[in-house]
């Protein structure tokens, strides 16, 4: 018999246990932030948690309003001072943590625990604005489980539950909620564009190509091992020397730096293009870089990204900056030619050189052109010069002054791809040949785990295109100095002095394997989970048999699925829960079954004692066994205190029943 007792104040121990659950939940949820936010916020949260626990433990009184109110204002002012604002993700996170600390200090009864939980959930969301790696899944599961456990404990009017029971109850709720989460994740209508833009954390710190090319830009990029994008080919994979991934095309040169000026360029329609050669189809998953360009194998002709167009420089450009990881499929042809009526006007700009800069180069170019028979001959002579004279390919070229091309060509002769590309394009323009510098990536590492081609920032590259005989021709001057760079990749092309350690590390078999495995997992995570958006949702529905899935289909499907899940849950709660069978009764039923098998069947109305009497009469030989078993059973069933059956006696009964072998008729 249980008893519902009058409401009473929770005991000190109960209060302490509740607070402990709450503090554990809060601490776990703030973990990803504690090292990211300003140190004083971390210290404040930890300090307030310890203070609050000490208050409860020592049974001291809570701080008065005279302490709390100034504390609130001081903390808010400190956040504003630290972040210079109270909006934005970083300042918002700091603000949430401070609010959390203050709320913990104020929480007296636990009634407003829901507010603390709410702040915790916002904090989890803030953590995902920073990054969404694989750890997000355990973080969500444990974070919500802990707050659910804390909610269960706090809403108990009676004594708190033992930890084991709370864990079981929490796990039950979470497991039942998971299918609902999955259905909503896949079927909740996703919308493509954000309502309002807000700078996310780290967008400024993202590494990648730039819209300007200064000498030294790409060599600094080459030090980064972070992934730029991953590609999965549909069919053949191009050979290493053909893996030119086209990025920003630099057409404007001011004598020192090349810059991207594609924003105002006319949109090129695909119909105007003549294509030829082999083509490659692939899916590209681009890491966010915060800029408008999309990367594609040279030269893209078809692509799945809706809000993207091909510029006159054959560059794939997105109308919105790439702030999230996006995936698109594309088809690229080896040879693409543009047939545009205004070609002459377009290429005229590619002949421009600023007057007065790099005079030595200009003079040299005029002299060399006069010696050459044709434009092609002239360009070949330049490449021969790179090849035959002592030009070096290095990641650590010397600094260059105001006329960088002059200095590079006639003094230092040491440079990275951007130096060669820049010099080559300048020389071409000096001879009145239209030329432009293309930045992008060259190569990529094939991951044998999933056949993904991983292209890293260290694969960044710059090459040139020159207008010869009415066609744009790719010329990679780096290939003249360091042919290994094109065939084998950066690491092979660099001299031993560049990154010795890195090469050794990366060439260790085990290390490489580990990196590639991890990348395969991350790629799958990005591909299937993080990239899930409006397009993948449409594909999902199409695969499920909807011809033209629209918002209404989605909502309908979602509503039906959720209703079915909830009906299943209600059914389970109503009929699915079975009590554990009483071990005592089970043992006795085994005994009855043995007797029934021997021919003595217990009637429904017969009590154990009368059944034993009848059975003893019928089975005189087993009399003593029947009686001792029945006696023990009755003793345990009706004389034990409460529902707890002493285990020693139960074991004895089980042994007796097991040994019991009634004689049959």
């Amino acid at each position: 018999m249980d008893k519902l007792l009058p409401l009473h104040e929770p005991s000190a121990q109960d209060r302490r246990i509740r607070l402990l659950w709450l503090l554990i939940a809060v601490l776990f949820v703030s973990l990803p932030h504690l090292l990211q936010v300003n140190i004083w916020i971390t210290l404040m949260l930890l300090g307030v948690g310890a203070w609050r626990y000490a208050l409860e433990y020592r049974n001291w009184s809570m701080p008065s309003a005279w302490i709390k109110v100034p504390l609130v204002f001081a903390a808010l002012a400190a956040v504003g001072f630290t972040y210079r604002s109270i909006t934005g993700v970083e300042a918002g996170t700091g603000l949430l943590l401070v609010m959390l600390a203050l709320k913990i200090l104020e929480t007296k009864t636990g009634r407003d625990l829901i507010v603390v939980s709410g702040i915790c959930w916002f904090l989890m969301f803030a953590a995902f604005l920073r990054e969404q790696q694989l750890w997000a899944i355990p973080y969500i599961l444990f974070g919500i489980s802990l707050s659910v456990a804390a909610l269960i404990q706090v809403h108990r009017v009676s004594a708190v539950l033992p930890a084991r029971q709370v864990i079981i109850k929490t796990a039950g709720i979470i497991i039942q909620a998971l299918p609902i989460m999955l259905v909503l994740f896949f079927l909740f209508p996703r919308i493509p564009a954000p309502f309002w833009a807000m700078s996310t954390v780290g967008s400024s710190a993202q590494t990648g190509l730039s819209d300007q090319l200064n000498p030294g830009d790409i060599s600094s990029l080459s030090r980064s091992d972070s992934v730029a994008f991953r590609v999965r080919f549909n069919g053949a994979i191009p050979p290493a020397s053909e893996r030119y991934w086209r990025g920003p095309v630099m057409t404007y040169f001011n004598g020192r730096e090349w810059s991207w000026a594609d924003r105002g360029e006319p949109i090129l329609s695909v119909e105007e293009l003549l294509v030829g050669g082999t083509y490659y189809e692939y899916e590209l998953m681009l890491e966010p870089h915060g800029r408008e360009w999309l990367l594609a194998l040279e030269s893209p002709v078809q692509w799945s990204q809706n809000k993207a167009y091909l510029s006159a420089n054959l560059q794939l450009i997105s109308q919105i900056p790439v702030r999230q990881r996006i995936a698109y499929t594309a088809r690229s042809y080896q040879f693409v030619q543009k047939q545009a009526p205004d070609v002459e006007r377009h290429i005229q700009a590619m002949r421009h050189l600023p007057s007065g800069s790099n005079p030595e180069t200009l003079a040299f170019a005029l002299k060399l052109r006069n010696e050459s028979s044709s434009d092609s001959d002239y360009l070949n002579r330049i490449l021969d010069m790179f090849r035959q004279q002592n030009f070096y390919y290095t990641l650590r070229p010397p600094r260059l002054g105001n006329n960088p091309v002059d200095q590079f060509l006639f003094a230092s002769r040491r440079g990275f791809c951007e130096h060669y590309a820049s010099a080559f394009a300048t020389l071409a323009r000096a001879a009145n040949i239209p030329a432009r510098v293309v930045t992008g990536y060259l190569g990529g590492e094939l991951n044998p785990m999933n056949n993904d081609l991983i292209v890293r920032q260290s694969d960044a590259h710059a090459w040139t295109e020159v207008w010869i005989d009415g066609n744009w021709l790719r010329v990679d001057p780096t290939a003249a100095v360091a042919p290994q760079r094109i065939e084998l990749g950066l690491d092979e092309a660099l001299s031993a002095s560049d990154f010795d350690f890195r090469r050794n590390m990366r060439n260790t078999q085990l290390f490489r394997q580990a990196i590639l495995s991890l990348d395969a997992v991350n790629a799958a995570w990005n591909r299937w989970v993080l990239a899930f958006g409006p397009e993948m949702q449409q594909d999902l529905l199409r695969n499920a048999g909807f011809d033209k899935p629209d918002m209404r289909d989605l909502i309908l499907l979602m509503a039906i699925s959720i209703s079915l899940l909830l009906a299943a849950l209600a059914y389970y709660l109503r009929f699915g829960i079975r009590s554990k069978k009483d071990p005592l009764l089970q043992t006795y039923e085994t005994f009855c079954k043995k007797l029934a098998d021997s021919g003595v069947i217990r009637h429904r109305s017969e009590g154990p004692a009368s059944f034993a009497a009848r059975a003893s009469r019928l089975r005189q030989t087993d009399r003593s066994h029947i009686e001792s078993i029945t006696q023990l059973y009755i003793g345990l069933r009706y004389e034990s205190i409460g529902s707890i059956v002493p285990t020693a006696e139960l074991r004895q009964l089980t042994k007796l029943v097991k040994a019991f072998k009634p004689t049959s008729d």
Partner: protein, 336 residues
């Protein structure tokens, strides 16, 4: 002067109460008056979000908007897991209450001013253990506890009494906010239950004094002339009237006169011989006399206008007399 915040609070409380009354009227009309034993079927177990639940919904909605805005898939995962938790909690909450069987056990009579205890039994015939089931009169939860699977629980709901007669038990409400406090499931039960309230006995000394003064004034004896059988030592609870003051003075200890039972003349506690003008005061005094007479194990009878309880003694007689006092309705003022 009331501040605007207080006024607002008062208005919202007023609206809440009005809504509550309306919904209870509707529920009563829907369910009718219940038997003394009633199973809380699913269809009569109601559920609504609590204030915390509304807050939870707002938080989830804000998270959803944030996730949509940033197209943040882990944000979606978080939001939708919380949505799932909320929906699951709703079902658990409802299931936690539905299917229980509540039966009225008893309500022992009490004296006016004491709390009447309406005792109930809850049977949980399911294999599901019930957590944090609260019960109370109207919406105020008075008791709370867990009920294990296939088990029963008892509870008593106190109701303050003020005057004698039958007191009617208002609506009983079983409720639970388990597991997360986001929802509150409740089941109103309208059983036709009453408890008897005896008049509140007047202060002992007052009664005795006024009784003795009445005795001396009117010359009527309230006490029957019993056959004296001897003296014994005073025990607490003995009537002051029976103390043998003379013997006590001579011996130095309190002695009490004892009377032979057989020869006991019945004591009549008579309405007409009490000197109080008011009906209720008179009943209260009679109540005191009845209790005292019972404590002294006397044989006593009760005379009320229109009602006579013949002299007897014992527990059931006591309650018979008290019941008559509780139920007494003065026929007409002119008669007394």
């Amino acid at each position: 002067m009331k501040g605007p915040a207080e006024t607002l609070c008062a208005i919202s409380a007023g609206i809440r109460n009005a809504l509550r009354e309306r919904s209870n009227q509707w529920i009563l009309k829907r369910q009718g008056i219940d038997d003394v034993s009633v199973t809380l079927h699913r269809r009569r177990t109601y559920i609504l979000p609590t204030r915390a639940g509304a807050f939870f919904a707002v938080v989830v909605l804000m998270l959803l908007i944030g996730s949509l805005n940033y197209a943040n898939n882990m944000g979606f995962a978080l939001t939708f897991l919380l949505t799932g938790v909320g929906l699951v909690a709703m079902h658990h909450c409802h299931r936690n209450l539905a299917g229980l069987c509540i039966s009225f056990k008893q309500a022992k009579p009490v004296f006016a001013g004491d709390k009447a205890q309406f005792e109930f039994i809850i049977d949980n015939t399911d294999a599901l253990s019930r957590s944090q089931i609260g019960a109370g009169l109207k919406e105020a939860t008075a008791v709370c506890g867990d009920i294990r699977a296939k088990n029963r629980a008892i509870f008593a709901l106190p109701l303050v009494t003020s005057k004698r007669g039958w007191i009617t038990c208002p609506r009983i409400e079983l409720s639970t906010t388990y597991p997360l406090g986001l929802f509150r499931a409740w089941a109103p039960v309208h059983m036709d239950l009453q408890a008897l309230v005896y008049p509140r006995p007047t202060n002992r000394l007052q009664t005795i004094l006024s009784a003795s003064s009445a005795q001396s004034l009117s010359g009527l004896s309230l006490i029957g002339e019993d056959e004296f059988s001897g003296l014994r030592e005073y025990r607490s609870g003995d009537s002051l009237r029976n103390i043998a003051w003379k013997s006590a003075a001579s011996r130095g200890i309190l002695l009490v006169k004892e009377y032979k039972e057989g020869g006991q003349t019945p004591l009549w506690i008579d309405w007409s011989q009490l000197p109080y003008p008011e009906t209720e005061t008179r009943l209260c005094a009679m109540c005191r006399l009845v209790i005292d007479a019972d404590a002294e194990q006397q044989v006593y009878g009760l005379r009320l206008p229109g009602v006579t309880v013949s002299p007897e003694k014992g527990h059931s007689h006591l309650h018979h007399c008290l019941r008559e006092l509780a139920m007494f309705a003065p026929a007409k003022p002119s008669r007394s």
